[in-house]
Symmetry: C2
Subunit: 457 residues, 2 copies
Amino acid sequence: MLNPAVSKELVDIVGRDRFLDQLEELTCYSYDSFLEEAIPDAVLFPVSTDEVSHIVQIASRHGIPVTARGAGTSVCGAPVPVQHGIVLCFTHMNRILEVNTRDRYAIVQPGVINGDLQKALAPYGFFFPPDPGSMNMSTMGGNVAQNAGGPRCLKYGVTVDYVLGLEVVLASGKVVRLGSRNIKDVTGYRLSALFCGSEGTLGLITEIIVKVVPAPVTTKTLMVTFKDLDDTAESVADIIGSGILPAAMELMDKMTVNAIEDAVHLGLPREADGSLLIEVDGSEETCEREIRQIIEKVKQHGAVTIEEAATEEEKERIWAARRSSYGVFAKLAPDIVSEDVTVPVSKVPAMIRKIQEICAHYNLTAGILAHAGDGNMHPLIAGNRQDKDEWTRVWQAVHDMFAAAAEMGGTLSGEHGIGLAKSEFLPLVMDEDSREFMQVIKKAVDPGNMFNPGKFV
Amino acid sequence: MLNPAVSKELVDIVGRDRFLDQLEELTCYSYDSFLEEAIPDAVLFPVSTDEVSHIVQIASRHGIPVTARGAGTSVCGAPVPVQHGIVLCFTHMNRILEVNTRDRYAIVQPGVINGDLQKALAPYGFFFPPDPGSMNMSTMGGNVAQNAGGPRCLKYGVTVDYVLGLEVVLASGKVVRLGSRNIKDVTGYRLSALFCGSEGTLGLITEIIVKVVPAPVTTKTLMVTFKDLDDTAESVADIIGSGILPAAMELMDKMTVNAIEDAVHLGLPREADGSLLIEVDGSEETCEREIRQIIEKVKQHGAVTIEEAATEEEKERIWAARRSSYGVFAKLAPDIVSEDVTVPVSKVPAMIRKIQEICAHYNLTAGILAHAGDGNMHPLIAGNRQDKDEWTRVWQAVHDMFAAAAEMGGTLSGEHGIGLAKSEFLPLVMDEDSREFMQVIKKAVDPGNMFNPGKFV
C-alpha cells in the first residue's frame, strides 16, 4: 500500500477519477494473458506526457516501482507488477495525433489500439504492417514495448522496423525525443530502437512516430492441408527457400485445426495432420503468379486439399479462424502455455518433430500454431496448474523445447517477449557477458531500478 | 607516439607486418572523404576477434584511444582519429563466413566490401538492399557503424533494418553477441541496433549477421528531365504521395547533370533545370504498370524528356553516371562539401528552393543531388579551404540549411552520419536532455571514452 501522503501527491496530478487503490479495482490490473499475477498498490491513468513525468518524479523520490500497461494482452507477464507499486495504464492516452501518408508517417499516443490506427490509414490506401494476433485490442505502446510481430511480419518485418521516433519519459522525469518523422535519419544513436522490446524496463513511451506504407493492391489467400505434418513443414521451408516471400504463412497442426473446427466450422478436413494458411500480396498479376508457384510446390509435397478464398468474406473468415485459434484452444484445458520458440526456417521441420517428441515424452497434450515462414512457432501446451506433477512436466517440456531451439541456432522469443515467462531461459541463448551488457544499459538508464523491476534484466 | 613498451605489446599480438607506426604510413590513415585529418600513433590490422579483444585490453590499460576504420569512405570524418592513438583497420577481416538464402541471412566479417556480399548473393537470386554510393569500396563494418543508406533505401530501408545480429568487442575487451540469425528475435534488448550508427564510439564490430532478401525479378529505369527544378521536386512528392514506392528516385539539378555530361556524355539535355532517375522493381507486370503511372505523373508536372533504359547496359550506364556524380562534381573546385540534409518528402520542393536561396545569399556555387523519394538531399557546395572568407561563407550556408531543415521537421543526416562534420549542429534537432541521454549511454558502455573520442557524443 502506498503511504497516504504519496497517494495524495499522485491524486493531485491525475485527479481522484483516474486513480485506483481499492483491492477489487487493483485486481483487474494484476495480470495479463500469462499465468502469474501481482497486485499493484495503485493504478493511474495519465492523459499527458506532463502527467507521466510528474508521476515518475514522485515515484522516483519515494522509490516506488512503476510498471507501464496498455491493454494487458501480453502473453509473457510483461505488465505484471511483480514488485507492486504503481501501474501506469496508458489507455486514456489514445489519440491519433497525425496521419501523414504523403510523408509516410503517423504519430500516435501509446494507448492507441493497433487496429484503430489501421482503420485511420485505410482510407488513404496505407497500412501499418505489424499485426499481432491481439491487434484489435492491443495498444501501440505495448506493441512497441514488446516489439510485436504478427503473421504479416514474415514479409514486412516487426514493429522496430517501423518506429521512426519516440517520446520517452526517463527515470529522472526528463522527457526525451528520440528519432524524428524522417524516413531516413542517422542523427546520433538509434535510441528509439533501444526502447522497442525493452518491455517497460527503461522508460515510459508517451508518443510514437511510425512509418506507414502503401497497402498492397490485392491479396490472395490459400488454405492447404496435408496428411503429414512433416510435409507441411517441408513445404514452408521449400517455398521460402525458393525466393517467394508470402505476406503470411501460418501453420496449424491437427489439434489446432480441430479446435478451430469445433468453434467456427470452417469445413477444414479434421483428419489432416497439418495445414497452411498462405497469403500473398501485391499486384493482381504478381499475386496470381506467386499463388500458382506456391500451388505447384505444395502439390510436390503431397497437399491433400488446396482452397483459394474466392471472396473478401472468405478471406476474412479464414483469418478470423486463425486469429481465434488461441482462444478456442484455451477452452481445451484449465491452463494453456502458449510458447514462442523460434528457429531459422529451414529448421522448422526438425523443430516440429522435436516439439512432438518432447510432448510425447512428458505425456502432454499440445497443439502447434506457427508463423512458419519466419520460423516462429507457438506450441500451445494444455495443462492444469493445480496438478503439480503435470505442471512440472509442462515446464520441463518448455525448457527442453528452448534447449532444442538453441541448439538449432534458434531463440526464446520471436514476438511475445521475455517478461516473467522466460527470464530463467535466457542463459540458453545469451552468454553471461551479453546478459551483463544488458544490465549495464539498464543500470545506466534506470539507476534506481524503478521501471518494471523483477523482470528479465 | 606510443610508448615503445606498448608498441611491443601490440606487435606481439598482430606481428610486425600488420603494425604501422611510420609517419608516411600513418598519413594514409589520417583522413576520410571529409576535410579534416589527424595522424594516428599506430595502425593495426587485426585478423580475428581474439586479436581485437587483446588490442582493446592493452589500449584500455594504457588509456589509448581506439578508432575503427574500414575503407575510409566516410564523408563525415567518422574514422578520423582526432585524439590520435590506435587506428584499427578491419580490411583484413574480410571473409564472408556464411551465405544462407534458405534462412535468409548472411554472416560477414566487418571488412567485407558491400559489393562483394552482393556478388556472393547474386547467384542465389538474393540481395542485400542497402547500397551506399560507396558500395563497391565501403566495408560492411563501416556500413553498420554509419547505418548506411543509398538510393534503394527509399523502398527497402537502411542498414539497421537488415542487421539481425552483431558480435562486438566492448571497452573491457569482453566479446558480446547481440541478436541472432533468426529473422524474428525479441529476446532481450535490441542492442545490435544501438551499434548501428554509433560510428565506432561504443565498441568494435567483429562479426555481422544481416538479413538478405529475394532480388526483384526485374527493374525498369527511367530518366526524366524538367525545365524547372520546382516541377522536378513536385513530381517526387506527388509520386510518393500517390502510394507508388519506387526502388529509387534520384534528383539532380542542372549543375550536377552538366558535371556528369562533361565527364561521361550520357546525352542528357544540359539546359534542363532538374532531372529524375527513377527505378521501379518487382515483377514484369508491376514494373510496367508503375512506370506508366509515373510517366503520367511526370507529364502532368511538365516533363521535357522521358527516356526508359532499354537494355541492362543502358541501366548500368545511367547508374554509373549517377554514382560518379560526387566524383565528377569534386573536379569543379578545390574542395567540395557534400551535405546530407533530410526533410519529410513533401517538404522537398520547399527545401530545394531554400538551398538555392541560401547559396545565392552567400554567393556560393552548389549542385543538388538527392535521394529525393525519402527527402534525403545532398547539396554539393564548391569552395576553397584556402580562401578564408569563402570557406566561412560555406559553413554559414551549411548552418542555415540545417536550421531551415530543422524548422521543416527535418534532420541533419539521412545517411552520412554526424562524425566531425555535424556535431556542432546537433542542438538544432536534439534538445539538451536528449543529447545528455546519448552521453549517459556512451559513458555506461565506454566509461573511459576510449572508442573514437572527440566525436559527436
